[in-house]
Amino acid sequence: MSPSLESYVLLSAALFAVGFLGVLVRRNTLVIFMCLELMLVAATLALVAFSRFNGTGDGDVFVFFILTVAAAEVAVGLAIIVALFRTRHTIQVDRLNSLRR
């Protein structure tokens, strides 16, 4: 007897919610980025669970794509953060408010 699909989907939703909370609460750009990754992984967990319980491999294939996009996103995002730190000497989001003035 294995755990039901509902429990996997609920766990995935909870992980997504935790990541979302982190994006909204934290001020450090790096930690915000980590929470974004957490949200992506939560989505992949739901995809794998649906794929397993429906007996099709399509969800698993989409997880491949999500992993690839996440890797590309991390590379570009961290390069942007480093460039930002070079010019502004901070990565706290509440100090990066040039567009608000």
Partner: protein, 170 residues
């Protein structure tokens, strides 16, 4: 047995996810992210997606978290900035999270999600069943993803070049 493993792994995953959100030091956050990903890889193994668990550990825990740690140590933010509790943003985050969980709970409990036991044919254990759709049904997305990786690589090269030396204003 499987229920016990699921409970342990889900508690570990949620706890380390909270650790990412609440840890003051970014290095501790990255370590919590690593352990959370390991727990999720265990959940993938419970779902018979062995190859995906392997790739998750390889790509995320191996490459992405290492890159995060590298950048955290490169930027060297004197210790950790404590997370200041902004009432407005914390309230927004809390309300949004509760709404999200409530909505998905409604879908999971009342919806037509209950599909009984998992399908007998475990797709995840057969490599050929991954490779065949990738090169037939999803051939165009694979090409697009390859192009995306190329563009991301070029973007990182352009972004990490030092400006201001070759006559360009900083």
């Amino acid at each position: 047995m499987e229920h016990l493993a699921f409970s342990c792994l889900s508690v570990l995953a949620l706890g380390f996810a909270l650790g990412v959100v609440l840890s003051k030091n970014a290095v501790n956050g990255a370590m919590c992210l690593l352990l959370c990903l390991a727990a999720i890889a265990g959940l993938f193994i419970l779902l018979h997606a062995y190859l995906l668990a392997f790739i998750l550990v390889l790509v995320y825990a191996g490459a992405v978290v290492a890159l995060f740690l590298f950048i955290v140590m490169l930027l060297d933010m004197q210790g950790g900035q404590p997370w200041r509790f902004r009432a407005m943003q914390a309230l927004a985050g809390f309300v949004a999270s509760v709404l999200l969980i409530a909505g998905l709970d409604m879908i999971a409990v009342r919806g037509q999600l209950a599909s009984g036991p998992p399908a007998p044919g475990a797709v995840g254990s057969n490599l050929k069943l991954y490779a065949y759709p990738l090169f037939t049904t999803y051939l165009l997305p694979v090409q697009v993803i390859g192009f995306l990786l190329l563009v991301a690589m070029l973007g990182v090269i352009v972004l990490s070049r030092r400006t201001g030396e070759a006559g360009r204003p900083t």
